[in-house]
Symmetry: C2
DNA sequence: ATGAATATACCTAGTAATGGGTATTTTTTT
DNA sequence: AAAAAAATACCCATTACTAGGTATATTCAT
């Protein structure tokens, strides 16, 4: 299930997209915004997993918003929504961490397909625009997300240790352990210690 | 580390065993009792993983005590400690769930070895007594411990679900889920939801 | 059909975890 | 040297879990 947030300064366009997408049963539009700041609020509150955002917007543009979102929630996939062939802005979006871009005058089918593609963690580059984005630093690939310390704590969580025990083992405060745990839950897009532990144990079997 | 509880009606014998075993650094004597009822209390309170018990004792004999302990804590391994060649009583002990037996007049080395053996989950039958225990129903092998419902709940715990979520999924009360969880933690000899979850996930990878 | 085992449900008090923050120090990168 | 990232620590209110119980229906085997 895709939880989609949309940011676009022309409300009429948002209404149009909502109309077009609300009959797709695998996409749920969980919030819309008319500028970048609003988008950040929605992301914090509604926890989307995909964001479709305009680049040029009031208060905060899509590039800044993308940077902020990817910094705090690296797992959220962002699709740039652009009216004109603003090659430079598009490249900045990709550098900021967007997973792709699509023209506003694309068909519903194409928009839908683009959303599905980035939702899977893949990239989607609209074929009607010529950019050298493919040669760009495609670094934001959501890998090696966790820090050494976080991995260390994750492993102990995977051993069934409580926060208190981990704190004692690593000679740090329990608050610190809690903070790391919280950060990991957020970064990995999970729902609490239960899933975090599951994640920890699954990783072990994969490496 | 072996947490040993001893039950024996002759206090002088208990003192002797304590003297003999207290210098073994892998065995910790966590409690002693002079009859079967006392033994049950100690097991509840101190959570031993190995019990060395006389067969003939006041108030409750070793056979009854063994049955009760194995019913509540199947993971605890019980070693019968017998003075004479009471073949029939020994066979009853084995049927009750004991992992083996040893004569009281054995050397420290032998007693120590017997304790280490049953602690590993193996059986130990004193070679100086002739019984046909080996042909007896050696059923109490601590396998298939959990009931269907418990396994069902364990799997959901392994998926990172909370008790509340499990209760809703199975259309039962949260109290019931808690009770099942408690029972599993006790039966499997674990230390809480963390280890229970670990257990659940490890089982999955084994079958 | 009677008894044992299982599954169900509730109680209480205490501890742990969660999900919002904020803030400081240390380390790393630019 | 300044900026960014990582690690550290704390607060608060709410929810979840723990560890003791008890108790009552089912279900299953003898």
């Amino acid at each position: 299930m895709i939880r989609l947030a949309i940011a676009e300064d022309h409300q009429s366009l948002i209404d149009g997209i909502k109309l077009l997408l609300e009959y797709e049963d695998n996409i749920s539009i969980i919030g819309t915004a008319n500028d970048g700041k609003e988008l950040l609020e929605i992301v914090d509150k509604k926890q989307p997993n995909v964001v479709l955002t305009d680049i040029r917007m009031p208060k905060m543009d899509g590039i800044q918003a993308t940077k902020q979102i990817k910094k705090k929630y690296p797992k959220i996939n962002i699709l740039a929504f652009t009216m004109f062939e603003q090659v430079e802005a598009i490249e900045q979006m990709i550098d900021a961490g967007a997973s792709g871009y699509i023209l506003k005058n694309s068909s519903l089918k194409e928009v839908h397909k683009a959303i599905l593609t980035v939702a899977k963690g893949e990239t989607y580059f609209d074929a009607n625009i010529n950019t050298n984005v493919l040669n760009s630093k495609s670094k934001n690939k959501t890998k090696g997300i966790l820090t050494k310390r976080q991995i260390e704590i994750l492993e102990l969580i995977g051993q069934g240790k409580t926060s208190r025990e981990i704190a004692d083992l690593l000679f740090i405060g329990i608050h610190t352990v809690d903070t790391h745990r919280k950060n990991m839950v957020r970064i990995l897009g999970l729902k609490g210690k239960g899933e975090l532990m599951r994640y920890a144990l699954e990783k072990k079997y994969k490496f």
